[in-house]
Amino acid sequence: MSAVLQNLVNQPYKHGFVTEIESDVAPKGLNEDIIRLISTKKNEPAWLLDFRLKAYQQWLKMEEPKWPNVKYPQIDFQAISYYAAPKPKKKLNSMDEVDPELLRTFEKLGVPMHERAALAGVAVDVIFDSVSVATTYKQKLAEVGIIFCSISEAVHAHPELVKQYLGTVVPVGDNYYAALNSAVFTDGTFCFIPKGVKCPMDLSTYFRINTEESGQFERTLIVAEEGSSVSYLEGCTAPRFDTNQLHAAVVELIALDNADIKYSTVQNWYAGDEKGVGGIYNFVTKRGLAKGANSRISWTQVETGSAITWKYPSCILQGENSVGEFYSVAVTNNYQQADTGTKMIHIGKNTRSTIVSKGISAGHSNNSYRGLVRIAPTASGARNYSQCDSMLIGDQCGAHTFPYIQVRNQNAKVEHEASTSKIGEDQLFYFAQRGIGNEEAVSMIINGFCKDVFQQLPMEFAVEATKLLGFKLEGSVG
């Protein structure tokens, strides 16, 4: 591609700054003592320490997966610090008491969260370097019986619930990174929607990684009881660093009969610079169990950040007539690598799943879709529709599709469609000839391409995602 297709991606990372808050950092390295230290620091019950140690034992026996279509230097797990907590100055009862430094950070991010929470009616559970420092709207939610708090808090306040569900969708030994997370997770979010309750607002968490070289191991657990529903938003940004940071989160969703969980993510971790130096390694295990009849689990993700993304938000469709959805936009630029997709495991009768994946590659990046659709012998009448589209910007990047389809039931119907397109110079010339510059043209083409996914996002998230894509791709064309 000519000069026209060279510049749209190379906009410096806008969220690159470090907030100066004193950190309490554990010594580097991982062993049973470190795990005990984390557990002690967090004043955890014995069963949770047990859970962690079991995970650690499994992890020791496992190997780092080599099958993803990504390349990176060997990670030295002993060079990572597994615990960092900002020293809380005092107990916080309202937003006013939140560290002004932290508030300024959100300001810089363009997320004035107090306003955001109030204006948008969003309850924001702020995760700042592994420890929650403020929770809003909790009371309003409590009125209808919804529990929305940090997972550490839940461990103390609702131990029976956490114990009942933690690790039931993603077992401690599920995979290498999930095992690691289970051993060392420091905090995350717990969300419980009781029977028959429709959550009155979108629940939202903003994640930040703040301490250099501290791995971030978030743990999220969302349980929707019979007939309940919830929409959960996860958004991430991270400050700029030169050394790679490992981020290995685990998210578990459980939907009982007639329950509905919608989980939306806009991911914008630091992606490394235009030469591929630095950036977050984002190795995430996200899985939802549509356990009850007529339950629904819907994943929507807009992945724009991280040096490497390894992530397959999945659905286990166990309940009869349960529904799984996966809507994804993954953008890679410069030297970013993404290997992402989903797994739809059909177990119950008449289960249905939809997969819509849009991969956009620019610069020297590599973007892979990897998806599994498995129809178990029990899943009579199951249906799946998958659509995987790739778009290339420039000719130095790659798009790959790895669909795996396993059908063990004669009555199931599986459809797969795929396409690859390129933003062509002639298209950009057409826009230019009508007075529309390259950046705007690319943004229009990309938004058109991503429309099916964006319309799944809650309104204000869709606006944010559209802007984010715009500045991720600025400079890659033009």
Partner: protein
């Protein structure tokens, strides 16, 4: 229409241009004044579309010599989008499809970009909807073309109409219509050319690239040029088109060319 107090809109002298190292334009001379309609005819591959795209600024073509002034300004100082905003419009011979981008959104953005350039008010989506529907009536276009992707799945003739719709919206100073007539059925040709005639006035100018004298019955040219081997080798009045119709191109350009509009 040639008139007294016309201003020079386009002045092309000795324009040479190459694509991938092969020279296609080998010294084009052309002067276009306001109010005028120029037809460019010529054999396949003679360089007509290349000329149009070079004027519009397609990056695949390198200008290797000569000059082009647009309203007195060096056209090559401007980026393609700046040329468009300055009033250069090209109706493409093969309009490209842009799937996923809604036609109405695209048209509105193009329109508003020009409006703001001209210091005029932009239209919001509802106002624009009314405005564009009026323009579509002129071309007897079904409004449901607004909801489709830009040119996406349009028939050949529909694409051409969509081009002229854009001309009607953008009201260019110089419109270059590259074979807008080919692919149009007889009724469509009448409708589209009628639309173009309504847009022509004493302040703007039109360059029509065509293979058919028939088009020129509808839009009457002040000059007819013949392009051959990347140059304008003959210029005449509208009767030249009739000549070409009967005699073909073989005889043209055998004699030394005369500078256009000399």
């Amino acid at each position: 229409m040639i008139h007294q107090d016309s201003k020079t809109i386009l002045e092309v002298s000795g324009l040479r241009a190459a694509v991938e190292g092969v020279e296609i334009l080998e010294g084009v001379d052309l002067i276009v004044k306001s109010g005028e309609v120029h037809a460019i005819m010529g054999t396949n591959g003679s360089g007509k579309s290349t000329f149009a795209k070079v004027l519009a600024g397609h990056s695949a073509y390198q200008v290797t010599g000569g000059s082009v002034l647009f309203e007195g300004q060096n056209l090559f100082d401007l980026e393609p989008e700046e040329r468009a905003r300055a009033g250069v419009f090209l109706a493409f011979q093969y309009p490209i499809e842009i799937p996923g981008v809604s036609n109405s959104h695209f048209l509105r953005l193009a329109y508003n970009t020009l409006q703001s350039q001209r210091g005029k008010d932009e239209l919001d989506p509802l106002e624009f909807e009314d405005f564009v529907r009026e323009k579509m009536k002129l071309l007897e276009m079904n409004p449901n073309f607004l909801d489709r992707g830009v040119n996406e799945g349009f028939s050949g003739g529909e694409k051409k109409r969509n081009e002229i719709l854009q001309m009607a919206l953008l009201e260019p100073r110089l419109a270059i219509l590259d074979e807008t007539d080919s692919g149009l059925d007889i009724d469509a040709l009448r409708i589209v050319t009628n639309g173009v005639n309504k847009l022509a006035n004493k302040d703007n100018a039109i360059i029509l690239v065509t293979h058919y004298q028939r088009m020129l019955n509808y839009i009457e040219p002040d000059y007819v040029h013949v392009m051959r081997g990347g140059r304008i080798v003959k210029t005449g009045g509208k009767e030249l088109a009739l000549d070409l119709e009967t005699r073909g191109y073989d005889w043209v350009g055998v004699e030394r060319r005369v500078p256009a509009s000399a």
